[in-house]
Amino acid sequence: MSVITASSGAMNVPALAAGRALIETRLVWWYFAASLTYMIVAMLAGFLFSLQFLQHYPLAGIELFSPGRWRLVHTNGVAYGFIANAFLGMLHWAVPRLTLRPVRGRGLSYFIFFAWQAVVLATVVGLLTGQAQAVEWGETPTWVDPVALAGLILVAVNFLHPILQVQGPMYVTLWYYVAAFVWTVLVYAMGSFLPEYFVGGAASGAIIGLFIHDLVGLFVTPLGWGMMYYFVPILLKKPVWSHGLSLVGFWGLAFFYPLTGIHHFLYSPIPMFLQYGAVISTIAVELVVTTVIINFFMTLRGRGDALRTNLPIRWFYTGMVFYFTTCLQCAFQATLTFQKIIHFTDWVVGHSHLVMFGVFGFWLLGMMTHLIPRLVGAGGWYRPSWNAWHYWLSTIGMLVMFFDLVIAGLIQGFQWRDLAPWEDSLVASAPFWLTRAVSGTMIIIGQFFFAANVVMTMLRRPVGSGEDSADAAAAAI
């Protein structure tokens, strides 16, 4: 549908007469470069932390390399460095195309880029110097929070400006984006300030639960699905199968997802009727997710060959299979029955890795696989086979890590329930922690293939190409 809009929107083109390029291609590329840099840093931080579990931490006794602090760099680097940067680049690519208007301001866009890198760097420095805030995934030091929130508001202003000028109904992608801009600002403000300054005790647990889950559900998820609704029809050259199911998917997510947060603290002193509500809405989310998955796989029907021939499509649909897996898992693990055993175990760690890397990481990497040669003005990838290595190492590493941690979680949970000595659960976990480190290494090697390919594609692009031909290539899509 977006393809049709882009080619039939001639009457809107005077909006471009202001003399500005529609797309700031260079900025998209900068965001992706920053995103990949943080991705590799965050993954190496995770690997470093995993060595602590093998009793072989190489930098033991150095305060700045305190394993707990690097765990925070791992999770926050993934959220705010890797995923946020990649989404911002993607938004600069997609939103002007969907609205046929440039974003609010060119200078503003560049300002946001540098401001956001400053926010992420300040977060890393703050975490490494021991200034974390006790909100999971919102450990961003308290002095960074207001700056980050101001940045998110500027992002919303910058992208809502063209969107709000669109006349008539919007394409699916823009529903998700408009809602995501509102939600991200509200979620960040709620999680960063309420538990720290306004409410304590068990009630702050309820708000932290909302924050943790809203960050996934109302920031990452809508931007991710909006991206799928944009790129999948373009790459498959056919419209999304059912507009009705698109509506069900968006409005179902919008209603049920914000209600689920307390499922992070079942059996806690948070009132029980709210815990029941969180469990029910979590299961409802799974039903909504099923409609979205059906919609996308029916869209793929008849074009299944694309899974073989089109690597970005393969990334996207692998991510969707993982998405369905992780949501189905969630519908079970969020019940009181499962929580008795799996809460506080590695099961949850496996779940979160599948969500953040297996789903959204895969989608973003697929999107970059599609866009980066166009951004840097190269005809194609330096070595397509390296991208295949990237995909397979990531996929196999992810699958191994997921099943490894889920099984480890079950073993830990049952040992605890059976009142085995605590140390027994450490001994039993050791082989699983080793497997986790190995599978993580596979994933990281895969990312090195991709990073090397990006660099070589940059260096070996045809002489005389650059921003101009990149714009030409972009315009040709």
Binding site: A132, F265, L426
Partner: protein, 235 residues
């Protein structure tokens, strides 16, 4: 409404978020809003912790240098506050929970199930329920082990528990191996956890036989928590 800017912005974006916040965030907030929330000073007002005084007895010169004199309510509050900062900054709460659940026989392993009132103080803002238990729950850790055990354990955990995966926190110590201000503070904080309970420091209700007659009958069978027999508890 379903595909328009105003519908998506106002109903899905603002409306549904606010609705969820009212139900899932504001409601528990209002339920607990009348519970008093203790400041650290009010906690210190209730009396000095035995282990805090003992740190002074063991390292008098260092203690007085770090805390400006012998133990008082003021520097006890300062130690608790700093210990909490260290606990958060080192991400201790990502591997240790502070929440005993009413399931999975947790009360047999750790002690009484957590109650909402336990979290109504400044050191639970934001609340430290925890997210993962690589190491044990710490909400009933106070007085379970001696200061000496904690000193050795923070300096080199594997010297005390060979199978542990806890990092060594050598920067909690000075060059002679004595605890510095952060080291004394984190030990004070950990030794304080659970000290508000009526069961403290006998989380399973046994108590010293000459002082407290057993009142919980059949519960005495779990007096010594499984897997916890060799932990240096004072009795």
């Amino acid at each position: 409404m379903f595909e328009t800017k105003s519908g998506v912005f106002a109903i899905a974006g603002l409306g549904f978020f606010v609705l969820a916040f009212l139900v899932m965030g504001l409601l528990p907030w209002l339920i607990y809003v009348d519970q008093p929330e203790l400041t650290v000073e009010q906690i210190a007002e209730q009396g000095l912790l035995h282990e805090f005084v003992e740190l002074h007895e063991r390292f008098p010169a260092e203690f007085e240098r770090y805390f400006g004199g012998p133990p008082t309510k003021e520097n006890f509050a300062a130690a608790l506050r700093r210990g909490h900062e260290v606990y958060v900054g080192e991400a201790c709460w990502h591997c240790h929970s502070q929440q005993v659940r009413p399931v999975s026989r947790e009360s047999e392993r750790w002690g009484p199930v957590s109650h909402a009132n336990e979290y109504q103080n400044e050191l639970q803002r934001p609340v430290l329920f925890g997210t993962r238990r690589v190491g044990p729950d710490l909400s009933r850790e106070g007085a379970r082990r001696t200061n000496d055990w904690h000193l050795a354990h923070f300096y080199n955990p594997m010297s005390v528990v060979p199978t542990t995966v806890m990092p060594a926190y050598t920067w909690f110590f000075d060059e002679r191996g004595y605890p510095n201000r952060d080291g004394m503070s984190i030990i004070t904080y950990v030794q304080w956890l659970g000290s508000w309970l009526p069961e403290y420091p006998y989380y399973y209700g046994e108590g010293p036989p000459q002082l407290t007659p057993p009142t919980r009958g059949a519960q005495d069978g779990v007096a010594q928590g499984p897997g916890r027999g060799d932990d240096g508890r004072e009795g």
